[in-house]
């Protein structure tokens, strides 16, 4: 089993490309302007680790961090 991961969106960098939401809808929410924030406290449920990394590597603004705890 992979380690516990958390995702975090840097709101100053996010420009609302919505790639994260498209690739990992379970892990991100969009506000009324289409800007992203992590769902809940950002904890990645088991089995979704791959999606977390995928979202990170597809964010054009490099706004997503994946933190290994």
């Amino acid at each position: 089993m992979a380690e516990r991961l958390k995702v975090r969106v840097d709101p100053d960098k996010c420009q609302g490309h919505a790639r994260c939401k498209a690739l990992a809808p379970e892990l991100f929410e969009l506000d009324e302007y289409g800007n992203a924030h992590e769902s809940g406290d950002g904890t990645v449920p088991p089995g979704l680790e791959d999606k977390a990394w995928l979202a990170k590597s597809n964010c054009p603004e490099i706004a997503i961090d994946v933190i290994e705890e």
Partner: protein, 406 residues
């Protein structure tokens, strides 16, 4: 009407590195090897054409400029032969710099969220199928002129609440502004005036008969102080939505179909695995990014170590950034299942394309509906593919033969 004929006032390019010209026919036909040469020469190249213009050639240099609103202004967003005074509220927020940029952009974002686009999807599918109905029995089609061209224009007309049947009128204005207008100021002004008059009439009509479309939305919008927007702002944003909404996605859908017509393996894979289409759309956006934006240098600085001087324009080539092999392994190959794809087709930084969610949905639906009904197609050897010039790149003639090759 929307052909690529241009007043040929520019001498042909012989030295691409020091004298590049994005309106040169060689660039229009096949810019990719040119960008490779430019990138090998420097992360930022310069030409004396267009009254002085830089072009960043790497992803990194493009990113630096896109994120630097202090040294680079967005008031001019198209590299042209002339630099007339810029009208205030030309096309907010794309022509806006901070601090006025943010409120202008926030105004436009809510109608273009992914959720808002989902509601539009059934209409898009219907439009695509109506278009296909119009030519599928013929066995051949110009897919640019009869398919990709009409999808985005009808989508944005639907959102704005203006007649989809006026599509040809809108397309002609865009052609005058984005292609002919690079070299012909009068064309540009004429189209802008006609557009503004058209929208003024629409606004007048809505005063007595309110609607729930984007025109009414902008008319009723209030700024932070609770005041309605100035009329010039409403008109500027409406012009932007129409201009930005049409040519760009038309080009992206056309380039995607062009690729699939020439690459049977990719076509077969997408038919067998339709769930791969969203991933493929991202890769097609990367490889054939339609939009090159511009900036104006307003303060001296350096980009990737290269000094840039005020008064020059910048050809902010997202397409060239997306072909940078430092950022994308096998950058010159189309890998339709590319997983890591931080492409910049919709721009980077605060000026990220407001319509990106709309464009993605349109591309996806356009390819899905086409492949469902026309799984087999290829370029018609008797025809010629032509490409648009300048700010937006995409096929303008795309002759296909439909059905299996015999």
């Amino acid at each position: 009407m929307s052909d690529v004929s241009q007043p040929a006032t520019h001498p042909p390019v012989t030295d691409w590195v020091h004298d590049f010209d994005h309106t040169d026919p060689q660039w229009t036909d096949d810019p990719f090897p040119i960008w490779e040469d430019l990138r090998a020469a420097s992360p930022v190249v310069h030409t004396e054409r267009f009254l002085g213009c830089y072009m960043p050639t790497t992803y990194e240099a493009v990113r630096e400029i896109a994120n630097d609103t202090e040294h680079f202004s967005s008031r001019r967003i198209i590299v042209r032969d002339v630099r007339p005074e810029v009208a205030r509220n030309a096309a907010p927020p794309i022509t806006s710099d901070p601090p006025v940029h943010k409120p202008a952009k926030q105004l436009l974002l809510p109608p273009f969220t992914p959720d808002a686009m989902k509601k539009l999807e059934p209409r898009m599918r219907a439009i695509c199928n109506e278009l296909i109905d119009g030519f599928i029995a013929d066995g051949k089609v110009d897919a640019a002129a009869r398919y990709s061209k009409y999808i985005p224009v009808r989508a944005i007309a639907h959102m704005l609440g203006i007649p989809e049947s006026d599509s040809d009128l809108f397309i002609n204005w865009i052609h005058m502004i984005l292609e002919l207008g690079i070299k012909d100021e009068n064309m540009l002004l004429q189209a802008v005036h006609e557009m503004s008059d058209y929208f003024r009439t629409q606004i007048e009509e809505r005063r007595s008969r309110p609607t729930d479309d984007l025109i009414s939305y902008l008319m009723n919008a209030k700024d932070k102080e609770g005041q309605p927007l100035e009329e010039s702002h409403v008109l500027g944003s409406l012009r932007l939505l129409l201009i930005a909404g049409i040519d760009t996605t038309w080009s992206a859908i056309g380039s995607s179909l062009w690729h699939l017509a020439r690459t049977p393996a990719d076509r077969e894979r997408l038919i067998a695995e339709p769930e791969l289409i969203p991933t493929a759309v991202e890769e097609l956006l990367r490889a054939y990014s339609p939009v090159t934006m511009a900036r104006e240098v307003v303060k001296e600085t350096t980009i990737s170590g290269c000094p840039v001087k005020p008064g020059n324009m910048v050809l902010l080539s997202f397409p060239a950034a997306n072909r940078d092999p430092k950022m994308f392994p096998d950058a010159d190959k189309v890998v339709i299942d590319r997983r890591e794809n931080r492409h910049a087709a919709f721009g980077l930084g605060i000026h990220r394309c407001v319509g990106s969610n709309l464009a993605r949905m349109e591309m996806q639906v356009a390819l899905e509906e086409w492949l469902k009904r026309i799984p087999d197609f290829r370029l018609d050897p008797a025809g010629t593919v032509t490409w648009s010039q300048g700010t937006v790149r995409g096929p303008r003639q795309l002759p296909f033969l439909l059905g299996k090759a015999i």
